[in-house]
Amino acid sequence: MIALALPAAANEGGFVPPTLEDMHLPEILPWAAEYGTGFGKQMLLVLLSVALIAWFFLAASRRGQLVPGKLQHLGEMSYNFVRNSVGKDIIGERDYRPYVPLLFSLFFFILVNNLFGSIPLLQIPTPSHVGTAYALAGIVYITWIVLGLKKHGIGYFKLAVVPAGVPKAILPLIVIIEIISTFLVRPVTHSLRLFATMLAGHLIIMLSAAGSEFLIMDADFWFKPLGVLTIAGGVGMYMFEILIQVLQAYVFVLLTAIYIQGSLAEEH
């Protein structure tokens, strides 16, 4: 009851929770702004992430030595992680090699862009704008369909939606479910998983920050100490969010590898 009575007891402005609109920051480019350039903070961060990743891996691989230094070791370790534990283990020893560059660049692009959400001043994960997630998942969607068509010809669609060993009677039902789950729901969940976790995580941090500010600055005298609790909770969520950001990059690339493996496989 105290929590419900709190906003009414305080000043007449009351507590204004942050909304989804706060995610869409104003556009940076001044010209053509009335038509909407789409060049906001997230776009700037994408460019920054590309520069950062390119700089790091160029620096790490410039002087390849037999006994690697610290930087080279870090670069090789992160490359090996994607190559072995995602590429080799999922797609298989035989034909994982051509897909390592795709998996590798996807993983580090998403990882760096997610971690921007936990770096002070940058402080917004790029995939919290849904366009980023749609573009990434769209690339993967086209990739695995084209790979399947290249490998199996037009029969790939039959291979993808008709599972082997199903009784004839329920086959139409299964085929409809397979079409929906493979070609419609799969890209949607693939993109929205990344987007929704980043958005929700950022929203929780914004909420705890706004709540702390309200409790400490504007609330009644007796409620002010509660602000300490919301700050502690916010810091806890901040740490948890770093874990989620790394995990989501891993999950996205893992699913990419699984989809590619599925379209290369001989049977359903």
């Binding site: 419900l4 534990s85 283990d89 999922i90 949607v188 929205l192 699984i258």
Partner: protein, 67 residues
């Protein structure tokens, strides 16, 4: 009080996803505890299970905002 009842519905529907993710990781931990060398094999499977289970909660989140 003002608000959208959709969010209450989403909160209820997230229970399902939460239980599912819990079951997936319980099985994963059990498997690794019994046979630690199987960890490399089980880890992608566990995260695949996490992703598939989580899909329902994600669809729920989207519908909560869209509808």
């Amino acid at each position: 009080m003002e608000g959208n009842i959709n969010l209450v519905g989403y909160g209820l529907s997230a229970i399902g996803g939460a239980i599912g993710v819990g079951l997936v990781f319980a099985a994963y931990i059990n498997g690794v505890a019994r046979q630690p060398e199987a960890q490399r094999v089980l880890q992608p499977i566990a995260f695949l299970g996490l992703a598939l289970t989580e899909a329902l909660a994600i669809l729920g989140l989207v519908f909560a905002f869209v509808l």
